[in-house]
């Protein structure tokens, strides 16, 4: 890989298992680490802001990294200023994050705020770094439905990854135990949001009902008895060529035939 000179920092967080709620490595952050490992190999730096005692952080080290920097922050602190200050002096060319946290507010604002604070460009949904030449990276951005868009962006930049990034490798137990968590003392900024907001178990959202705004009985009857969709067109007794022609016409109308 030609990216060995790239200086990459991946920001990681503590996730929560979707069923049991136990602390684990966050899914998207692990993908960001995987992408970082492909770009920078063993030179990849991991950065976490929070409690260095959390065992789940070691799962990232188990992906093949020797150490991780932890900016010591209490729970419910605003980590963006601390991360921004650290990254400004760290000399990173690429900062990778997941797109949203699995616990807490999970607003997905962190990469945007960091990019704004550092005044770096931001790539949302990074899927792959194709090449880096003379300080300009050519990257692929993931779009819905598996589509990709090619972007050119000047280093250094912040990138968030989502589920289109390469799947994370397994975490090995031995390296995870041997890895070093290096805590650093930094200034703490209190987050005022949870003073007034409260977290509560997610309520299932009501299903939207079909509202019938009929004024007369006839309209109500029509709405109640009409089928959602009338059957489509059925072509019988055709040659295969005529059938194929009809299908191709539909595919071209729907613009799926490229």
């Amino acid at each position: 890989m030609p990216h060995n000179l790239l200086n990459v920092i991946t920001l990681v967080s503590v996730g929560a298992h979707p069923v049991t709620g136990r602390a684990r490595r966050a899914e998207q952050d692990a993908r960001a680490v995987e992408l970082g490992l492909r770009l920078a190999g063993k030179e990849l730096q991991l950065l976490h802001a929070g409690d260095p005692q959390v065992e789940a952080l070691r799962a990232y080290l188990g992906m093949g990294l020797a150490e991780m920097t932890v900016l010591q922050q209490p729970p419910r602190a605003d980590v963006v200023p601390a991360l921004g200050d650290y990254l400004r002096d760290a000399g990173a060319q690429l900062v990778l994050t997941g797109s949203q946290a699995e616990v807490g507010e999970g607003s997905g604002m962190l990469p945007y705020l960091l990019a704004e604070q550092l005044d770096w460009p931001l790539v949302v949904g990074l899927a792959e770094v194709e090449s880096v030449t003379e300080g300009v990276a050519q990257v692929l951005q993931a779009l819905p439905r598996g589509q990709r868009r090619r972007l050119q962006v000047r280093l250094p930049f912040v990138a968030s990854v989502d589920n289109a990034a390469p799947e994370a490798r397994q975490s090995a137990f031995g390296p995870a135990r041997r890895g070093q968590l290096r805590p650093q003392d930094v200034a703490v900024v209190e987050d005022m949001l949870l003073e007034e907001a409260r977290l509560q178990p997610a309520r299932p959202r009501p299903k939207r009902l079909k509202v019938i705004k009929a004024k007369t009985g006839a309209e109500r009857m029509k709405a109640a008895t009409a089928k959602a969709s009338a059957g489509g067109q059925v072509l019988t007794d055709m040659t295969p060529e005529q059938g194929a022609e009809a299908i191709v016409t539909l595919l071209r109308d729907e613009k799926v035939l490229r």
Partner: protein
């Protein structure tokens, strides 16, 4: 056509003239009358109307009168009342996604929410970037339309768009910004704007009322309830779309537009992706094979030729023709394709559940009476091998022709 009933002197004259050949047909048919013995007689044939299924329906609300056939009115399109805001007290700005140049259902939900927030004093402003094909802005609930069609904001240009939106913020000072929290652009644009304005947004909001909002937090296991901030990224179905008013869609202009600074993200366009690697759950176009496929090599060739992601029914997977992860249906993958082309699939209930959200379903089948043909928007009855071969030839010819046209 006006709704007013008009006199027809000629038919009135025919109705008076008992010697006229059309006299009988001009007589109003009585639905009920008192018979010679004093009993009430009824003629059920003149009552009612044909329902949507062809069954006769009788409306007993009194709105319909028997024997009024000559006076059948043509139902004109109902004109909804126009909602006019002359001097808005405040603005609610919505930035719709406009996927494919049209308002999506997510956008319409946001306009519904914006209208409840605006009430009768505020104005709902829509900021639309680039070209659009939408013609129903009025019934979606848009009081003011700010259409920015400058060169700089065409295509994928989040940084320039955020600059424009910051100018909008300075000009209108909206009470709320509402942006769809979607993967099709709104989520990114809204968060960029929040970072630029220094506002702390509420994200994935699904309920907003009385100055409070509730949104999903974390990985969706928790809700965050808080006072509604100025910038809200709302989820789909956060409110009901506007349905019973028309709005005036008055165009407004952006004063002092200045786009400065070169774009730091350079868009190099879409990249061709291999459809075989697209996850089936989010593939746009799926070619799915079932028990009726005889020649699987031809099926794979057709998928390559059409550029479709391959799927299969349970029978095809159980018989070993396709891998298990390609199974579509209740026990396999629930797909969301826009176009689903089913070859030789009869349409078991479990399979039809799996394709429930597909927009267009095309079926190729031997049996015209099977459930898949009933579900399909287009069904071609015939031998699957012959039709697949014809399809490959046709697409091949099209591709060749396209290359020749380009050259």
């Amino acid at each position: 056509m006006t709704d007013s009933l008009r006199r027809d002197p000629r038919s009135e004259w025919i109705a008076r003239n008992r010697l006229h050949p059309l006299h009988a047909s001009m007589q109003p048919l009585e639905a009920s009358w008192v018979g010679p013995s004093g009993l009430i007689r009824k003629n059920p044939h003149v009552l009612g109307f044909a329902g949507p299924n062809g069954l006769k329906r009788i409306d007993r609300s009194g709105a319909q009168q028997g024997g009024s056939r000559q006076r059948a009115r043509v139902d004109a399109a109902v004109q909804l009342p126009l909602h006019i805001i002359e001097q808005p007290a405040f603005h609610i700005v919505v930035v719709p996604d406009m996927v494919g140049g049209r308002l999506s259902s997510h956008d319409k939900d946001l306009f519904g929410l914006a209208n409840t927030l605006a009430g009768s004093e505020g104005a709902v402003v829509a900021v639309v970037f680039g070209e659009h094909k939408e013609s129903a802005f009025d019934t979606a609930g848009i009081d003011r339309l700010l259409h920015i069609s400058s060169e700089a904001v065409a295509g994928y240009s989040p940084e320039q768009r955020v600059m424009m939106l910051r100018a909008v913020d300075a000009q209108l000072a909206p009470r709320h910004w509402l942006i769809p929290d979607s993967r099709t652009g709104g989520g990114e644009l809204g968060r960029r704007l929040a970072a630029k304005l220094g506002e702390r947004p509420a994200t994935r909001v699904w309920q907003m009322a009385d100055g409070q909002c509730i949104g999903r937090a974390g990985a969706g296991q928790q809700d965050l309830a808080r006072t509604a901030p100025r910038l809200v990224l709302a989820a789909a179905e956060c409110a009901d779309p506007v349905g019973d008013t028309r709005h005036e869609v008055r165009a407004i202009e952006l004063e002092d537009v200045l786009v400065h600074g070169a774009a730091r993200l350079d868009n190099r366009g879409a990249v061709a992706v291999d459809p075989a690697l697209t996850p089936m759950a989010e593939a746009e176009f799926i070619l799915s094979g079932g028990n009726g496929v005889r020649d699987w090599d031809l099926f794979h060739q057709a998928a390559r030729e059409l550029g479709a992601t391959e799927g299969a029914s349970r029978v095809a997977v159980d018989d070993g023709f396709m891998p298990r992860d390609r199974q579509v249906g209740a026990t396999g993958t629930w797909v969301t394709a826009r176009v689903y082309l089913a070859v030789g699939i009869s349409g078991a209930v479990q399979h039809l559940q799996g394709i429930a959200t597909c927009d267009k379903v095309v079926a190729i089948n031997q049996d015209a009476g099977c459930d898949m043909v009933k579900r399909a928007d287009l069904a071609v009855i015939g031998d699957s091998t012959a039709i697949l071969q014809a399809l490959i030839d046709r697409v091949d010819a099209l591709r060749q022709g396209g290359i020749r046209d380009a050259a």
